[in-house]
Symmetry: C2
Subunit: 290 residues, 2 copies
């Protein structure tokens, strides 16, 4: 399966963002992409840098003209498309939601971000109610996509549950970057940790993993001057090996061939699913064992 | 806390192995080590390369003269010592067991390997009954040690459970190497995966991780000529960053300073323990969700 990971900088101009994304998807489809992955909340700047009720006007319903726009792109280009939206479910009830469109433009499935962060300049608990779909892969014509979103990528439980539910691949649209007040050493530790923990999910579960991040500077509100999104989108194989990686400062359409058959080979030599001690894991359901 | 990771090649001569280990521990203690970590089953060659009932004679009781030997070394050198044994629990009942001695030579605690591998040249299911202590850190004068053993290192559930039970650090004595029939590229993917998944546990749980591997060639039985143990013992910090790493071909006493206070700083910026979706993790207790 040829996958395209579209790593873009996002501007304040929503129409311009959508037009640029459409153009990039068309390029990737011409290059042979079967699956196209966009980054988290790609239509708008990362508005969670501040808590502002005005931003709820950015939310869209699913389906709506916003999802119809991407459905048409998927259909016209014959690709499976993973898009990401600020979902309005009801007045006062919003989610951070990924939508997968199949090649005919139909909605193959949705995933609502389960783990919601909240730390300075990432005030997501103000905007997003935690997802209530659990960890269920989305069936598409290219395979079972274990779609999760950003902060989910730090939680091994989420990766494992998607695996146990039959995911062929884990895919994380994301929006993560540096705080410029941090030292360069701390910035690099953070970027490396982000890559490492996701590669670790590939290893532990014996399947490929994709992360699609935004890139570039987006100004914030006082006291946070902004976020320097670190790009570095990548695809890792079933042994955690890096198959392709984008730069940390540039927009890039990253095309990578992913071989799902490698999963079975790897799992036959690394028998982790065979040997899990499910009789001894009950403490995982606790907040802390004290 | 200054930690010593003793990466050794193991010979067929048990007395020689023990004498060499003692000498190395003494060197590390003189260099200021507070905690000394030995590799898995360090007293003997890796006998699991074949299924041979004769090898059960290698098993020792706990306590016994074998553990007394290490208890005395810990006491004489004033170090906390993590040793690893083929434990005879009863006739026909054996475990792969780590024992931690405190600085007074007392047994601070034991850990019985929970996940038992079984693949060509690693026939551990023949020798070891899976552990029945669960994942409980061992309390010592230098901290709560989340001791696990080798194959456990591939399971994120185990790392998480030790963390939730209050481990200050995860420590994996191990015996893992290359099959020389594999291509160099495959060998490097395996070594890198082994490092990556453990660094991933550090990231996901916000605590330091140590792996202590054996090194060098040990001949096997037909049809397996032997295992090329890949060394590469390492310590990673609470963001998964490599603090120190040994070579893949050499014996080495790796000394590294580990700062437990970093855990709290890291967990305050990376709020994974705060945000786990324990309401949605029940599937972890299943073999597969089908």
């Amino acid at each position: 399966m040829k996958t395209a990971i579209i790593q873009l900088a996002i501007s304040d101009d929503l129409e311009k963002n959508r037009a640029k994304i459409k153009s990039n998807i068309e390029q990737c489809a011409k290059a042979g992409a079967d699956l196209v992955v966009l980054s988290e909340l790609h239509d708008t700047p990362y508005f969670c840098q501040t808590e502002d009720a005005e931003n709820f006007t950015l939310a869209i319903e699913i389906p709506s003209v916003a999802t119809d726009y991407y459905a048409a792109i998927a259909r016209e280009n014959g690709v499976v498309l993973l898009a990401s939206f600020f979902e309005k479910r009801a007045a006062g009830l919003y989610h951070n939601t990924a939508v997968v469109f199949d090649t005919d433009g139909s909605i193959a499935g949705k995933y609502r971000k389960m783990h919601i962060p909240d730390d300075p300049a990432y005030y997501e608990k103000f905007y997003f109610t935690p997802g209530d779909f659990g960890f269920t892969p989305i069936k598409t014509s290219v395979g079972n996509l274990g779609v999760m979103i950003c902060f989910d990528q730090w939680f091994p439980e989420a990766a494992r549950l998607m695996t146990l539910a039959g995911a062929d691949i884990l895919i994380y649209p994301t929006a993560i970057g540096w705080e410029i007040g941090d030292t360069p050493a701390e910035q690099q530790r953070q970027r490396e940790a982000w890559i490492t923990v996701q590669r670790g999910h590939a290893v532990a579960n014996g399947l490929p993993v994709i992360a699609c991040n935004r890139v570039g500077w987006e100004s914030g509100a006082e006291p946070f001057v902004g976020i320097d999104f670190w790009g570095s989108s990548f695809a890792a194989g079933a042994q955690g090996e890096i198959l392709a990686q984008a730069a940390d400062r540039e927009e890039e359409n990253l095309l990578v061939d992913i071989d799902f058959s490698r999963t079975e080979e790897v799992r036959q030599i690394w028998t982790f699913l065979r040997d899990r001690r499910i009789d001894a894991y009950e403490g995982i359901l606790k907040r802390f064992i004290d």
